[in-house]
């Protein structure tokens, strides 16, 4: 199927097609070809679906997927209409990944940029070692979320489990519900106007504009566990 008209959609059926073929075709998209949106049907829990995409293509995945879905994403807008396994959008660089269901562990792990939206809950270690990604979770997050997180934002509209932000660097954490426990060197911080603006902007981008920024609390690093130099602030 080509891109003859605006309604054209490239459909790939993983019940009959090979995962490697799908990902190769997605990797090969040039800027022009990326204008045609894709629908991936019957993913049946396959791992690494749409991993390594490097073009501004819009992709809808119609079902539950396995590990590392949309990993290393760059530029693409990927929506999963189901649950995702371990490491969704791990190491994402840019683009938007949206999960309509729940997410397993290590969502957005080590990711450098882009936006990850999880409409359901995210399990343990959400945003572990994140390096600049913004993550918005509609539900709650599991324990050890934002462990050693270096940069970026984690917004949690529900609750956070134990050891939130353990050994945190400079990532910013906002939680609307209960925090079961803060990890080492993670503390609650004052919510100032600029933080409310950041929250409002991210909620808007995540299409959760009805959630009120004023209901969140802010958490960050106490900067006791690493050698923080104030002169380096602009580098984060």
């Amino acid at each position: 199927m080509g891109a003859e008209n605006d309604m054209a959609v490239e459909v790939f059926d993983l019940a009959t097609g090979e995962l490697r073929e799908l990902n190769q075709r997605l990797h090969d998209l040039n800027e022009d070809a990326a204008k045609t949106p894709w629908r991936i049907v019957h993913p049946r829990g396959a791992h690494a679906v749409a991993a390594g995409v490097d073009s501004p293509v819009k992709i809808d995945i119609e079902g539950h997927v396995g590990y590392y879905c949309a990993g290393m994403n760059q530029h693409a807008q990927i929506t999963v209409h189901g649950m995702v396994g371990v490491g969704v959008a791990e190491n994402m660089m840019s683009g938007i990944v949206r999960v309509k269901g729940h997410a397993s562990q290590s969502a957005g792990a080590t990711a450098h940029g882009g936006l990850l939206v999880i409409e359901g809950d995210a399990a343990s270690r959400c945003g572990i070692s994140m390096k600049g990604i913004d993550i918005v979770v509609g539900g709650s997050v599991g324990h050890m979320s934002c462990f050693m997180a270096q940069a970026g934002h984690l917004l949690v509209c529900g609750d956070a489990d134990e050891a939130l932000g353990d050994s945190l660097y400079e990532a910013q954490i906002y939680v609307r519900g209960q925090v079961k426990g803060l990890g080492a060197d993670c503390v609650e911080k004052e919510m100032r106007d600029e933080h409310l603006d950041t929250l409002a902007g991210l909620l808007e981008k995540a299409e959760m504009g009805k959630v009120k920024p004023s209901e969140f609390r802010r958490y960050g690093s106490a900067r006791q566990l690493y050698n923080f130099q104030v002169d380096n602030t602009s580098r984060y």
Partner: protein
């Protein structure tokens, strides 16, 4: 590594298809556990007052009919036997202890896989596909079924080291992970009179639950105590006569996914194993939390 799968029916409409549905789930987890596989089926109940024993005999044809006849005479009842490959399920009117003793007296070469009103445990070395074919899983009926595909880490590839492990009347456990304090626990349990037959760490976990429940714990309480006493990595699926439970260790390194509809609860190491279940697209699918005991049915 290992794969675990479980299917518990909340309504009995799918009881006739449970073997077919479960076979696909088990085979799907071959990549996580190619060296042996096993399952515990919760099938039909025998006549009132009777219990079922599942027995294994290695090597050659075995005269199960004569054994059943002799058990029937011993317990003064009708003994029904159902032969399946090198296994047989025999139903007699007896209590657990007397039946185990009678079997040990008649033929110490037999291995008791499970005893209960409903449970039947089958396991062997070989690929999950070969286990499905060998025992005719696709044609089996029941209310729930729990299985395991094994990639051995802590002990040798043997039938005895395969899962599930029986944990007492109608109870069984499958395990993905490894326990680090199983040697000390084994010694303690043996002192308390719990027989542990293999070097396998998972059998120690099964023995631990058996011991706790002998002390009067409910399954829920035994699993909560396990969180304190078992050191290591684990995702467990546990079957009872009328229930099903899932527990993950507090760190939750070993994977698990749950799916629930009005008709069933299904559990697997990876979602792929659940992809063929009816209504899965509309199911609630999520990852069970660490250190939280999940139970369905009469598992409390």
């Amino acid at each position: 590594m290992c794969g675990i799968v479980g299917l518990y029916l909340k309504k009995q409409d799918l009881a006739g298809e449970i073997g077919e549905l479960f076979a696909s789930m088990l085979v799907c987890m071959t990549g996580r556990g190619p060296d042996s596989a096993g399952f515990a089926l919760y099938g039909n109940e025998p006549a009132a007052g009777h219990i079922k024993v599942t027995l294994r005999h290695d090597g050659g044809d075995y005269d199960w009919q004569t054994l059943a006849h002799s058990l029937g005479e011993f317990f003064a009842c009708e003994a029904k036997v159902q032969i399946n490959a090198n296994y047989a399920v025999i139903a007699v009117r007896a209590d657990e202890e007397a039946l185990a003793q009678a079997l040990a007296d008649k033929d110490p070469g037999l291995t008791i896989m499970s005893i209960g009103r409903r449970i039947e445990i089958f396991k062997e070395i070989g690929s999950p596909e070969s286990i499905v074919d060998r025992f005719g899983i696709r044609g089996m009926r029941g209310t729930h079924i729990i299985g395991h595909t094994r990639m051995a880490t802590e002990s040798a590839v043997t039938t005895d080291g395969s899962h599930p492990f029986s944990t007492g009347m109608d109870l069984c456990l499958v395990h993905n992970g490894s326990l680090s304090n199983h040697n000390r626990l084994r010694t303690n349990l043996e002192r308390a009179g719990i027989e542990i037959r293999t070097e396998n760490d998972s059998e120690v976990a099964a023995g631990y639950l058996m011991w706790r429940m002998q002390q009067g714990d409910t399954l829920q309480e035994a699993l909560e105590a396990a969180l304190e006493d078992l050191d290591g990595f684990y995702t467990f699926a546990i079957g009872t006569a009328d229930g099903f439970a899932v527990l993950r260790d507090p760190i939750a390194c070993k994977p698990a996914v749950l799916a629930e509809t009005d008709d069933y609860v299904a559990m697997a190491s990876e979602f792929q194993a659940l992809a063929d279940l009816p209504g899965i697209d509309e199911a609630d699918v999520w990852e069970p939390k660490p250190a939280q005991v999940y139970t369905w049915g009469a598992a409390n």
